[in-house]
Symmetry: C2
Amino acid sequence: MSPWKAAKPGDPVTAIDTPALVLDLEAFERNLERMAAALRGSGVRLRAHAKAHKCPEIARRQVALGAVGVCCQKVSEAAVFVEAGIEDVLVTNEVIGEAKLERLADLAQKARIGVLVDNAQALQALVAVAKARGAGIDAYVEVDVGAGRCGVAPGEAAVALAREIAANPPLRFAGLHCYHGSAQHMRTPEERTAAIASAAEAARRTKQGIEAHGMAVGCVTGGGTGSFVHERDSGIFNEVQAGSYAFMDRDYADNRYGAGDVTFEHALFVRTTVMSRPTATRAVVDAGLKASSVDSGMPRVWRREDLRYLKASDEHGVIETPSSQALALGDALMLIPGHCDPTFNLYDELVCIRGDKVEAVWPISARGTLL
Amino acid sequence: MSPWKAAKPGDPVTAIDTPALVLDLEAFERNLERMAAALRGSGVRLRAHAKAHKCPEIARRQVALGAVGVCCQKVSEAAVFVEAGIEDVLVTNEVIGEAKLERLADLAQKARIGVLVDNAQALQALVAVAKARGAGIDAYVEVDVGAGRCGVAPGEAAVALAREIAANPPLRFAGLHCYHGSAQHMRTPEERTAAIASAAEAARRTKQGIEAHGMAVGCVTGGGTGSFVHERDSGIFNEVQAGSYAFMDRDYADNRYGAGDVTFEHALFVRTTVMSRPTATRAVVDAGLKASSVDSGMPRVWRREDLRYLKASDEHGVIETPSSQALALGDALMLIPGHCDPTFNLYDELVCIRGDKVEAVWPISARGTLL
């Protein structure tokens, strides 16, 4: 961990040491409001995905604006948010292994905790721990509605798991997890509309199958920043799990959005400095792939259409420039990260700015929570 | 940061919680010995690249086997190794900005510190801080010998910088930094041989240009795991900077090696667990791109030729399996990361195993040192 900090509250933005992860609070707050407005009156609630930011200060602001709680992907990640006072955390993932299940059950003594199930054998292990600990845990059946990752097929297999959960208190059958991950970055509105129509149909059929056994399906949850308007309008989902909406990375900006979409502003940046200027058309900045994750492609240079971030090595970014006048050694740039989630995971702190001042520095407390 | 640890010394390997970063100490120690043997008697010394591992325990072992010290890429990274007692650290990078330069000068009071220069204006800033602090810093001229990243062109521009350094004590002109990054993963031995022959020629010409002014070029440093035998045998380099050799990631294993190459064993793994088994040909493991960096491609499954790690999302890895019998829910696998450097940077701790036992857990103290 760095012995030094990139900034402290009160610093001018120009004094932020680089590379640093920077949140523009005004754009961020507008994004939070825009999501709240998009869901208001719809009967669909937000469970903000905290895997995107790993930052309790952000989760608190999401809850203050109406989010029912957060999603996490790991038990250790959930533990950080429970510790920070978030009272409703859904681990949107399967949890395998005795040690992890016991920690999950412990968390359920402190907050409302949910988890996914997509396998009968895994469910038995969860049941055993929940019974031994008397832990009331919300169990959701994960249904593969098109993403081709985890989850049981829609229909009978999901119905069987739901019945098994309901038969095993203190577990509670909480509903269906129907997240279509690969729909989020389909580039056209038409593709996303069709993908979520199909996902909603699979969710509806599965829900009806469960209701045919006299059981209620309390929650159908899914959706992300790219698709949530379709889940909202589906008549079957009653919870969406967007996370990136608050930050808007380059990959989400590369989607094309249509009239029915709700769009968000870039609020998250990697601030970087030109550290080498070897030729008239090449500048090298101090933010490489350890500063801005490249799993979803290169970052984009904010408000500098004339500059292109060509390639990243571990600690360097190569920028193509039109001329030697375009950029000088020591100049600072703001990069829009390719993918916000793994970029947050590279930093211990988030430098929050308002206008030209640093207003706050928030710990990214759940960085590195892999277990 | 996770409230829990993946393992503790004495644990059986089978009890390591996942995902975890695991070092096989026997393979690691053989790799260290193999590098020491490859350089013994050559007159070429090793300056191990600590950006690869960010772990002082590893740096100490490299120095104990003859490495002159380490390379780092950031001042904050260097500070962690100086704090840990490494006495000779070369920041193989340009350092721009008053705050960073002052920290660099402070480090030079505690250890032998080097840094690169590729620009006259940047050199003036370094000179000013070095003089103000009375800091004896080794300054190297970075020469672009083919990588197309930082560095001045070989020849005159480098000579001018070298003369300027020498004219400005307490800076010391320490030599030339001639690292050919893009040669490291050229796939054939012939390509790497040709690239380093060209780099060595550029280094030689530049060295002669400096010597023509009556100056000595103490050190010509460069080379990585993919190419170091060529720098070693060039007659011009007297220091190599390999880092990945100790771990051997998938990307380096994908190089083809010839008779003159020295090869290394896989010693670094991401231990992972099957957390979902949705179909006969698909398993999902708990190590995604936040557990094994995918900037250089997917990880490979260790000693399981029948399994293929197809794609990563943030917290999931999708594995293709030949049949439902091939892999069961809860099974553990060892993954060979695509790229060791950014994978180390995702973890707070390294779980060191010997045979079937955890022998030690080493802090990855310089993780996240970006400044």
